[in-house]
Amino acid sequence: MSFTVRRGETVGLVGESGCGKTTAGRTILRLIEPTGGRAIFEGKDIFAMPQEELRKLRQRMSIIFQDPYSSLNPRMNVERIVGEALEVHGIAKGAALRERVAALMRRVGLRDDSLERYPHEFSGGQRQRIGIARALALNPSFIVCDEAVSALDVSIQAQVINLLKELQGELGLSYLFIAHNLAVVKHISDRVAVMYLGRIVEMGTADELFESPRHPYTQALLSAIPKPRPGRPKDRVLLEGDVPSPMNPPPGCTFHPRCRHALPKCSQVSPANVEVSPGHVVACHLVSDGLTAPYPITRAPSAG
């Protein structure tokens, strides 16, 4: 897979459970040792970097996790959780550290008098804010948001997403936003990449991808978004079967066993990336052969 996240941009990464979204996010930060490939961050290859240099670079990259309960050390108070990285990297200590942590807490919308408190005294949304404060502590330029709002209530999700957007505007952050909630991804992302079995099958700007998806898998995914209009005829593209094992992916296009438009060569040749319009890339034989996958959502004029 290959993609770029530009400065100040949010790239959404979507796909089914188990398709490798989280693995991709963590490999970029080298939390999981990569088996190959390159990840260029500010001109340097993260994967080829010696440990010492990587440690310094970690100040510029950060991660926000899905589960606000397991992502905070239960035996540390907020000041230590948020401030530890500042201390380790020799940025601040003592009273200065305290002041910076308090400022971070205010920045993410929490009271700055709660530095002595422990994670179990906060609600899920508050904990997620602490996680965000921790991710911001080192002043990063790039943050991986690994399902950052999936575990939260819908109302809290909106708050946290708005907070992330605000912070992006203020600090010029770049996000890699990993999620399976398409509505959330559409809302926050500038560009979206759709993953299937460890490969990006389609990538484009959020608007274009959601308006005119080209890959059959993307079409099926998008048709699963609930429509806010009751009584409308359902036009779901239902996928049959399960995601095959990533250890032993099908030959050719990995999606062909579940694709209703599969051509004979789909099971033999892996499709190449085709740019269908500027910035919109699809890996599908149908598209590269000039056929269009019949997108089943008929945009008929609404009744009335």
């Binding site: 970690r58 380790v88 408190r117």
Partner: protein, 343 residues
């Protein structure tokens, strides 16, 4: 006990300038006791002057644990007995009525009576004094050896679990190997070996007990670390570039300590027993230094004529080991959220 303290008052000088006692450890224990007692008195005075914390005060995980523990009566009982034993052991030079090694030829084989509350042994030595001094040695051996083995075990287990790979395989292979050797036989062999090399015995026994007791702890810690290291807060640390050593010591071990503490409090009882077994077999701390095991060993020949020599220290061992076990069980229940509310 007040009587004993008064009776022991002339020994105050000996406490300040400890010269008596069979082992080189006594002066150090006396010194530590002084600091300990002073610290304790100082702390209680200080704590008494502090305003009580407000009722809805934020409770740290530790405070929560204490509250849970207090609900377990047996555990609290064990804690009380253990604390009393420690206090008595610390204050021994003040409360012991006699020099533990002083021989009184006229007072041999005296049964328990006023003056000799636990009787005397075949040399006419006061058994109460010997048991009190023995408590210092036995408890010190228990605490230091278990402290050593728990530290060692926790570190080895944490490193094995955190780094995995060949580090893990090598250390767990070592654990399996050491666990396959019967501990007592191993101890006898090592003690015998070093004894003939003329090594200092008390120190030797503590170190050997410590070095042969860490395997269980390391396995427990390793299992904990394997689950902890996948937790997001550990991954967050790695993402922020916090060094591995700091992650292990600051994040993983504090969260893996609960079973270690439980295991340690149970192990102290076991270690006291092992030391008693070694002393009983004549391979423990050399005479005339009193430990509970060595007193029993001394009294073995006179079980029929003077059973009090063995019964007294024997009961003390039972009481100590039982208290440590109750304490350990109580801690385990308090630390295991699944058992909460059942005690």
């Amino acid at each position: 006990m007040i009587w004993a303290a008064v009776a022991g008052f002339p020994r105050l000088g000996a406490l300040l300038f400890p010269e008596q006692g069979g082992s080189g450890l006594h002066p150090w224990i006396a010194l530590v006791s002084w600091f300990g007692v002073l610290g304790l008195v100082g702390y209680t005075t200080w704590a008494g002057q502090q305003p009580p914390p407000p009722k809805d005060a934020v409770r740290s995980p530790t405070a929560e644990l204490i509250k849970q523990f207090q609900r377990n009566r047996a555990g609290v009982f064990g804690l009380h007995i253990v604390s009393w034993m420690i206090v008595l052991a610390l204050l021994t030079p003040l409360v012991a009525p006699f020099d533990p090694d002083a021989i009184a030829a006229g007072d041999r084989y005296m049964p328990p009576q006023p003056g000799y509350w636990m009787g005397t042994d075949d040399y006419g030595r006061d058994l109460l004094s010997r048991s009190l001094y023995g408590a210092r040695i036995s408890l010190s051996i228990g605490f230091i050896a278990v402290g050593l083995s728990a530290t060692l075990g926790a570190l080895i287990g944490a490193v094995a679990g955190y780094f995995g790979g060949w580090v893990d395989r090598a250390s767990m292979w070592l654990v399996d190997l050491l666990l396959a050797l019967p501990r007592l036989v191993l101890l006898l062999a090592i003690v015998g070996l070093f004894r003939s090399a003329g090594a200092q015995s008390l120190f030797l026994i503590v170190v050997i007990l410590g070095l042969t007791g860490w395997m269980g702890v390391s396995r427990i810690v390793r299992a904990q670390v394997l689950t902890l290291k996948e937790q997001d807060f550990v991954q967050a640390c790695r993402a922020m570039g916090i060094p591995d050593s700091r992650i292990i010591l600051g994040h993983i071990l504090p969260n893996a300590m609960a079973p270690v503490i439980v295991n340690a409090s149970l192990a102290i009882g076991g270690t006291i027993l092992t030391e008693a077994s070694l002393s009983f077999l004549g391979l423990g701390v050399p005479p005339p230094t009193a430990t509970w095991g060595s007193i029993i060993n001394d009294g073995r020949e006179f079980m029929r004529t003077a059973p009090w020599i063995t019964i007294g220290p024997g009961l003390l061992i039972v009481l100590a080991v039982m208290s440590f076990n109750l304490l350990g069980d109580g801690l385990r229940d308090a630390l295991d959220p699944k058992l909460r509310g059942r005690a």
